[in-house]
Symmetry: C2
Subunit: 135 residues, 2 copies
DNA sequence: GTAGTTGCAAAGTGTTTGCAGGCAG
DNA sequence: CTGCCTGCAAACACTTTGCAACTAC
């Protein structure tokens, strides 16, 4: 189908051979803004498209991150979220539900970056606004 | 010694009974700005003051966080840093060395917080500037 | 053939838990 | 006594690794 072909193209452009497993994972995760854990990807790909081993999910997510198709978000100890939006932006993290929401980069204005330690360059800036339901 | 007495007082004020283990952990970790993992606390307390089990270190760190003596910093999947500075501030994280450095709150100016999701309140704002050595 | 990929199971890492024994009030 | 605290060992959750079978070119 057409989606598959687009995904295969996308993977090739990123420098990855488009195996069925990678295409399936790409279909689920890439293409629309989304935050998922490895487990969630594994569950959805396996039930909706084809069985894929958890090891392959981890391998593939790692490869996607390396190739810039995906971003890791660290908000919770012992759990990595994969974010299909790679452009510069930030996050709300609901500490009660674990839900992660995007904040467009232009809605957070960091005025005046502090002086960096000597011999260091910025690798990335993460802003995480932890929220909880009002009681 | 005097330090112990001050630490015992501090723990009591926080609502914790000042057991020898808690005092020892407090001596190592509280009192000066510092970022340590549970393992590091365990190693330093055990060699410098007294043997303490890892389970007790975890219990104690959790208790300290609950009582507001300590803050958790999540920058790396599968590893929690404990930060003895509880006042509002931010962090540099050196992605190559794992070193964590404080940024005073007034050096990062977040202009214009984005609109919160309905029925939510801010639980905390984390700014992590990931840095790496220049090559 | 040869290099890259998959998937199982085993190993690893950091953290939490169950529970028996100890200690303080 | 009674309730909290400690520490051992086992359990856990998530992730990585070793390796043999497989696939594509």
């Amino acid at each position: 189908m057409r989606d598959d072909i687009h995904m295969m193209q996308k993977l090739r452009e990123a420098g990855l051979s488009p195996t069925p497993q990678r295409v399936a994972i790409g279909e689920i995760l890439l293409g629309r803004p989304q935050h998922m854990t490895a487990e969630q990807v594994h569950a959805r790909v396996s039930t909706e498209i084809r069985p894929v081993s958890l090891a392959t999910v981890y391998n593939t997510l790692k490869a996607f991150v390396e190739k810039g198709l995906l971003r890791e978000v660290v908000v919770d100890p012992g759990r990595v979220y994969y974010d299909s939006t790679v452009a510069n932006h930030h996050h709300f993290y609901n500490v009660e539900t674990g839900e992660l929401t995007d904040i467009p980069a232009d809605q957070v204005n960091i005025a005046g970056l502090p002086v960096l330690p000597r011999g260091a360059e910025v690798a990335g800036v993460d802003v995480i606004i932890r929220i909880r339901p009002t009681h």
